[in-house]
């Protein structure tokens, strides 16, 4: 496939300008429904920002406010430095891919893709040229005269993406564009999307509740919950240094283990071992220890923090076993911990010596949930 680059080349000085900026955005539907409380962020040229969060956390609302389909209650939306908060969607030079694709059922694929261009009075010759480019780029040539009802789910998705690309917008907005595809197709299309948008200059704001999509596609991830921005970072940082317990639990699969431990004298106790705590937590009475299942190991000679786990559940994930164990800390308290073992691992009976490598442990304030680093 040859790649034609639909966006004009940009002078290097412009690359640092924020293409999209949100300032203190708030959306209040009713006093009890406030899906976006106070959101500020900016997206630069070439960036791929993913809004990640659980269902109902306001991701789509943010996207619709950027698109102009929803008016913010408070705050501003800036595109290329221009305040567009009160502009209608058609005047914002954005394009959007909807979760349902929203193709016009009574128009052919070609008309679907070209309708926005024709509305903008772009010369017919250029419209045809752009149509040719984008259909070649996405392999849609054979489908151009069909109606959307005669397309498969994957083909419809491509048409929706083509309709966005052909516009050459300032910002691409995508709302869960993969969620209607089956698992296998989703993986292929995800890889395609990544290549496709890497070749574009315009930034992308991508909404998903699927952390794999967020991790693989993005240059930046914004984790949202409860109307608030939880963390805004590169994907590997979101994974390696989650800002709080919510992010740590939401990103990573299988989910991070959380153990609420009692503290005394600046150390947290788990059974007969005590973990030294980072200084800000030295006066806490309780603390939350977080460790990812892939970081829990079987004990080797020389490990300090080793525990005996009683296996009560083994799940075969194919590449790994997901093993759930109980750790008897004291007479009254047992903790549950899950760990990943390679699929060739063997063990005898139902007991396992496990080690918690201290460098992989995350500490969270038990009251606020925010992460505390060494």
């Amino acid at each position: 496939m040859t790649r034609t680059d639909p966006t004009p080349t940009i002078a290097p000085s412009e690359t640092q300008q924020a293409m999209l900026e949100l300032r203190h955005l708030n959306k209040t539907f009713s006093p009890s429904v406030v899906p976006v409380k106070d959101l500020s962020l900016s997206v630069k040229r070439g960036e791929f920002l993913t809004l990640l969060g659980p269902s109902g956390c306001g991701k789509s609302t943010v996207l619709r406010m950027i698109a102009g389909l929803e008016q913010p209650t408070k705050g501003q939306v800036l595109i290329q430095g221009e305040d567009v908060t009160h502009k209608p969607p058609g005047d914002r030079n954005i394009s959007m891919v909807f979760q349902s694709y929203a193709l016009y059922p009574h128009m052919t694929v070609a008309d679907n893709i070209a309708s926005a261009l024709k509305l903008r009075k772009i010369p017919e010759e250029e419209v045809r040229q752009r149509l040719r480019e984008v259909s070649h780029f996405l392999g849609l040539e054979a489908l151009m005269e069909r109606k959307p009802s005669k397309l498969s789910g994957g083909q419809r998705q491509r048409v929706a993406v083509a309709r966005a690309l052909v516009r050459r917008p300032s910002v691409f907005l995508l709302d869960e564009p993969l969620s209607n595809l089956d698992a296998l197709l989703r993986e292929n299309v995800r890889a395609e999307l990544k290549q496709l948008f890497e070749s574009q200059q315009a930034p992308v704001v991508y909404v998903t509740h699927d952390q794999t999509e967020a991790m693989t596609l993005s240059t930046k991830v914004a984790v949202l919950n409860d109307g608030n921005l939880q963390q805004l970072d590169a994907p590997h940082q979101i994974y390696a240094e989650p800002a709080n317990q919510f992010v740590a639990g939401f990103v990573g699969s299988p989910q991070m283990n959380f153990l609420t431990l009692p503290c005394e004298a600046g150390a947290a106790r788990l059974g007969d071992r005590s973990f030294p705590l980072p200084p800000p937590l030295s006066h806490a009475r309780q603390v939350i220890l977080g460790i990812r299942p892939e970081h829990v190991r079987r004990a080797q000679p020389g490990d300090t923090y080793t525990f005996e786990g009683k296996i009560f559940l083994v799940e075969n994930l194919g590449m790994h076993y997901l093993v759930s164990v109980h750790i008897q800390a004291t007479q009254q308290t047992t903790y549950t911990l899950r760990l990943l073992l390679p699929s060739d691992a063997t063990w005898e009976g139902d007991s396992l010596q496990i080690a918690l490598p201290p460098e992989t442990i995350h500490w969270f304030d038990a009251e606020t949930g925010s992460a505390v680093r060494q």
């Binding site: 016009y104 926005a116 509305l119």
Partner: protein, 291 residues
Amino acid sequence: MTTQPLDRTPSPSKPSISWKQWALPLSVGLIVVFCLAPALWQLLTSFKTNEAIAAIPTVYFPSEFTLEHYQELFERRPFFNYMLNSFVVATLSTVLALGLGSPAAYALARLRLQGESILVGAILVVTLFPPILLFLGLLNVVQALNLGNNYLSLILPYAAINLPLTILVMRSFFQQLPRDLEDSAKVDGYSTVGLLLNIVLPLTLPALATTGILAFITAWNEFIFALTFITAEPMKTIPVAASQLGGASIFEVPFGPIAAATVLGTLPLVLLVLFFQRQIIRGLTSGAVKG
């Protein structure tokens, strides 16, 4: 008790299979005959000669067909005129009902109005009144406005009677039209009017055709208002004209012309439904979203 090997050869009568083979066609045939018999009888009578109509025993398969009853309608009476009257009244009232009802339905479906459910409930209640209840009141209105013998005296009430149903049907249609489509059109840059004309209207045609035909049929068949509000002979509609067909004496019932008038009155409706059949059946929204 003797045990016998299971007999796997089919029994000669095979009762269960043959029962299914004839039961469905038979019941379909019976229902069709039951529904269509009166209409077919009228059709047959309209083509029979007067002797065959009067003959006892009844002639089911006449040996001779004639167009004399139709000729009588068109040559001795202004029947074409009656049809035109009906057509004008029914068409204009349908257009009025759709033109007023669809925007109202769209507003009810898309805007978050206060007291929306009360409004919809009120519209529903209106449909519950039989038009005959409104008749005396309407008569006063027609007299006061001096609308007697004016097509408006029929067009307006017919449109009003059809309006609530139009609003309710169109509203539920708009509600199931995916909202994303309209949002997508807004992002593409359609103005509100452009969006309604280029995106919503084409998708709404099946629903418009269906409700329009219902409204048209109601208006076409209406009798009481047409009988009372229009007394000028050249302005009468088909149902009234057909009911007033008389013979040479009061003892002679003109069965043939009445049957012919009935056929002529029904034919446009049949043609209309056949013409819009594809619109009605075609699910235009399929393919809009993942299906």
